[in-house]
């Protein structure tokens, strides 16, 4: 599958800053979309592609930090590069705690911003890949029957087939059949692989 072209969203209420950032980012060959306010960004359709947001902290109406919270609530995970004119410590702490990718102060040096954008897009690319894999695993695991899920649970817990059979009150042969189905449906190459996938799913944030 060919990856979609990366995109940078620039959100700043100041037209001149917005256009400057757009031009700067465009100059390194990245696609840029600009928005004058947070609601404008929320209303727009976002293409499926590695992306990052360059966000002005201070805007009338919904501020940059408010938008970050909102995106978090809606599980929209796009790395955010904050730009602020007066980077006070509590503000940057709050932003970083909520997962801001970078916190730059105005006026931003062009190269700093481009580096941050590049890093953020790489990070988003990785995250997207991760998310895609996770979704794939989740789909596979979701296809298991309740019985198979019970067997999976115990097998991953380290029980032998015989012990599983005792536990669930079924024959060892039946356990073996279920176990083979599980391995097939989840495309697990070995028991170790199955355990790793289960762990990954458990540790992943819920969708």
């Amino acid at each position: 599958m060919k990856e979609a072209e990366p995109i940078v969203f620039v959100i700043d209420d100041d037209r001149m800053v917005r256009e400057g950032l757009q031009s700067l980012i465009k100059s390194i060959g990245l696609r840029v979309e600009t928005f004058a306010s947070a609601p404008e960004f929320l209303a727009a359709k976002r293409p499926e592609a590695p992306a990052c947001i360059v966000l002005d902290v201070r805007m009338p109406g919904i501020s940059g930090l408010d938008l970050q919270t909102k995106l978090g609530d809606e599980k929209i995970e796009i790395p955010i590069i904050f730009i602020t004119g007066h980077g006070d410590i509590p503000m940057s702490v709050r932003a970083m705690k909520e997962g801001a990718h970078e916190f730059l102060t105005k006026p931003v040096r062009g190269q700093d911003l481009l580096d941050a954008v590049q890093k953020a897009i790489d990070s988003d690319r990785g995250l997207r890949k991760e998310r895609a894999e996770l979704n794939e695993i989740r789909t596979r695991f979701d296809s298991l029957t309740p019985r198979e899920k019970e067997v999976l649970e115990l097998v991953v817990g380290g029980l032998l087939n015989k012990q599983v059979a005792d536990e669930l009150g079924m024959s060892e042969l039946t356990v073996k059949t279920h176990r083979a189905h599980v391995m097939e449906k989840t495309k697990a190459e070995s028991l170790a692989h199955l355990v790793r996938m289960t762990e990954r799913l458990k540790n992943a944030p819920h969708k």
Partner: protein, 399 residues
């Protein structure tokens, strides 16, 4: 006065008496000379001597002349001559002579004294008038001094008032610092971003001149905007004596809104302007008027920061409420002013803010009143307040 006059009295007394004696001796001499060729005694000179010496010398010398001339008449001119005796037949004649002398002396001295006392009274009156005139002059000078002093005080007051207004402006600017920093930083950020973009477009293998030029133009615009902000702020801080010129209120409002907008957006406040299109010019000091409007805007923003759940909307309007008048109002949707607080709103040093100096509204009101206008407030607690002022137009009612 008496002490001063006491000294020259003695020589004068002596002179008076010397004059009397001199006169009586001359009269005697003339009478003796004229006695020889004529039969009748020419002693009328004695009467003259009495009159003149009494008039010039006073009563005392007059009496002396009366005495001497009577004695001389008895001795020289009443037979037997050169003897002190008097025949009984000559007694009435001699007595009449003496009596006439006495009456002349008395009448002349009485007249003389009356005249003297009149002159003294006149002198006294004149002295009194002189004295009063001096007092009046002194009082006048004191009054002039006081007027001069009051003028100086008023001038000093004027200077102090202007300085206070400036300090208040600087304080307001101080409150605005964060947003002003943003205000200047924002265009600078645009300059840097665009300049960097310009360089990046030029640095590409095949430079994109169209993009580079557009970026460079935006950088120039940003720099111009930054310098405009600085000019606006500097005009508020500089120490200028109030100067009244024809001013366009709408322009002042737009400039001021541009200054306060940063602070407003920081507090989530939107400023709407609703300006009358055909507003006549006003006569006023644009910096001071800007200060008043800035103050009202800042108060409005402050008032709404306390209101959490409502729409934060600040509306500034200009209008022509009556012929010859310009009206400006700033309406907020803040917490409003309680009826208890209302009357104290314009008192100096009264403030509801922790950081406020409490001088904004009193200074604003004094500025507007100095412009011949009025500034007042209306409020519905919980709904918001409206502060408004009027100014006369530059051309009066006709304009």
């Amino acid at each position: 006065m008496q002490a001063v006059d006491a000294v020259p009295t003695k020589p004068r007394t002596f002179a008076r008496f010397a004059l009397a004696i001199g006169l009586v001796l001359i009269a005697l001499w003339l009478s003796l000379i004229l006695q020889a060729p004529f039969d009748n005694p020419f002693w009328f000179f004695f009467a003259l001597a009495v009159i003149v010496s009494t008039w010039l010398g006073g009563r005392g010398p007059g009496w002396l002349v009366v005495g001497i001339s009577s004695a001389a008449a008895l001795y020289y001119f009443i037979p037997p001559y050169r003897a002190w005796s008097l025949k009984p037949a000559d007694i009435p004649f001699f007595a009449t002579f003496v009596g006439c002398q006495v009456v002349a002396n008395w009448l002349i001295s009485w007249r003389r004294e009356a005249e003297d006392s009149l002159r003294r009274a006149q002198d006294e009156l004149e002295a009194q008038v002189e004295e009063r005139t001096i007092e009046l002059k002194n009082a006048n000078e004191a009054l002039l001094d006081r007027i001069e002093e009051q003028k100086r005080t008023e001038e000093a007051l004027q200077v102090a008032r202007a300085e206070l207004a400036r300090v208040a402006r600087i304080t307001t600017i101080g409150e605005l610092t964060a947003s002003i920093a943003h205000e200047v930083n924002q265009p600078l950020a645009a300059v840097v971003a665009n300049a960097d973009a310009c360089v990046a477009w030029l640095a590409r293998q095949s430079p994109n001149l169209v993009e580079a030029r557009a970026a460079a133009e935006r950088a120039t615009q940003g720099a111009t905007r930054a310098s405009e902000v600085i000019v606006r702020i500097r005009s508020l801080i500089t120490k200028a004596t109030p100067e009244k010129t024809r001013v366009q209120i709408n322009e002042i409002i737009s400039d001021t809104v541009a200054l306060a907008e940063g602070q407003a957006s920081r507090n989530g406040v939107a400023i709407d302007t609703d300006l009358a299109t055909d507003l006549p010019p006003a006569l006023g000091d644009s910096i001071q008027l800007q200060q008043v409007i800035l103050n009202l805007l800042m108060n409005g923003i402050e008032a709404m920061t306390g209101a959490s759940d409502k729409a934060r909307r600040l509306v500034i309007r200009s209008s022509v409420p009556a012929a010859g008048q310009i009206g400006v109002s700033v309406e907020d949707s803040g917490i409003g002013v309680s009826p208890e607080t209302m009357p104290r709103l314009f008192e100096p040093f009264f403030t509801t803010r922790s950081k406020g100096m409490g001088m904004g509204l009193p200074i604003s009101r004094s500025i507007i009143e100095a412009h011949g206008g009025k500034l007042w407030a209306e409020s519905t607690p919980g709904q918001g307040s409206t502060f408004q002022f009027t100014l006369p137009t530059a051309d009066g009612v006709a304009g």
